[in-house]
């Protein structure tokens, strides 16, 4: 037997004498993974809601949602809905399915410079634009913001995605 072969045998023997271990209980692991997943999702949603609300507040120029809890914030009616990943018509359908039939759509378009932006309030969702989850204002209506500006971008989980 060559030196290399002797070495291989000794290495194999050395490792074989080390006590092994039983694989973790998969059911337990699965539960841990699921719980971890839930926590991650919950954390993501919280971040998402915070970011979405923050961005929405930044976008609103007049009649804004500042001071009102975001509709997707934790504890709010549509917490975790991720409407920012939907197109405006999809968001409208989602809202209708959840009882929000009287929605004010605030459409931001144009540029971001002084006097370059345009704000329009409509009762029907536009075909395109980034959805910024809004809030229920004093008029009892849900105000949603649609960002159609050239420099606009999606927020939260869909940051970086093309405009729907």
């Amino acid at each position: 037997m060559s030196d290399d072969q002797q070495l291989d045998v000794r290495l194999g023997s050395l490792e074989a004498r080390i006590p092994g271990a039983v694989a973790p209980d998969l059911e337990h692991k699965r539960r841990r993974v699921r719980l971890a997943g839930r926590s991650a999702v919950a954390a993501s949603l919280l971040l998402l809601a915070t970011v979405a609300t923050t961005v929405a507040i930044g976008v609103v120029v007049s009649g804004g949602v500042r001071g009102y809890p975001g509709i997707e914030n934790p504890g709010q009616p549509l917490a975790g809905a991720q409407m920012e990943c939907m197109s405006p018509p999809q968001a409208a359908a989602y809202l209708a399915a959840h009882g929000f039939n009287d929605v004010v759509w605030q459409v931001e378009s144009g540029g971001t410079g002084r006097g370059e932006g345009t704000t329009t309030f409509v009762t029907a969702p536009p075909a395109h634009g980034y959805v910024m989850p809004g809030a229920i204002l004093d008029d009892g209506k849900l105000h949603m913001i649609i960002d159609q500006r050239a420099s606009g971008h999606a927020v939260g989980a869909c940051y970086g995605m093309p405009m729907p």
Binding site: D3, L11, A23
Partner: protein
């Protein structure tokens, strides 16, 4: 027409046919042994093995089904090297005991010689000598060029033989 979908569509990803536990559980014990030698510490080895096992479970649907042991060892060894890197950074502050009763009685000279090698060099010789992985396979597993693996393997053999006075 042969009807062999795999041949006709080489890019199709084959999903593992068997349940995760059936394939991976039998590999776990060997993984822990390997990590004990690479990390030199049973507690760390079990931590890394569990972490690797859980990561493999999460990624099971992405596994191509070819060589589960190589796949699991790849995940584990990369985690182990990260662990060693962290330990190197914090080692002066945090150190773990290294119980060796399981090996001292077996081949203390070899263990000592093995521990004198760099962890990646240690991994190379174990993957090659004990597992029989080829240089190319080891290079893939460790994410290193074949030449580097070859050099490490040569260094490992030379170092171990010198330490063991095998010529």
């Amino acid at each position: 027409m042969s009807g062999d979908a795999t041949t006709e569509q080489p890019n199709v990803v084959r999903l593992p046919a068997k349940p995760f536990a059936d394939v991976m559980s039998p590999l776990y014990s060997g993984l822990v042994r390997r990590l004990v030698l690479v990390l030199g510490n049973r507690e760390d080895a079990e931590d890394v093995a569990q972490d690797a096992y859980e990561r493999a479970y999460r990624s099971w649907s992405k596994f191509d089904g070819r060589d589960p042991r190589a796949w699991l060892y790849t995940i584990a060894l990369r985690l182990a090297f990260n662990q060693l890197e962290r330990r190197r950074n914090w080692g002066r502050i945090i150190s773990r005991s290294t119980p060796r009763e399981w090996t001292d009685a077996v081949d203390p000279d070899l263990l000592s010689a093995l521990n004198s090698l760099q962890p990646r060099v240690r991994a190379c010789i174990l993957l090659h000598s004990v597992d029989g992985f080829t240089l190319g396979e080891i290079a893939d597993m460790l994410g290193e060029p074949i030449g580097t693996v070859s050099s490490r393997l040569s260094r490992a053999r030379t170092g171990l033989k010198a330490a063991l006075e095998m010529r």
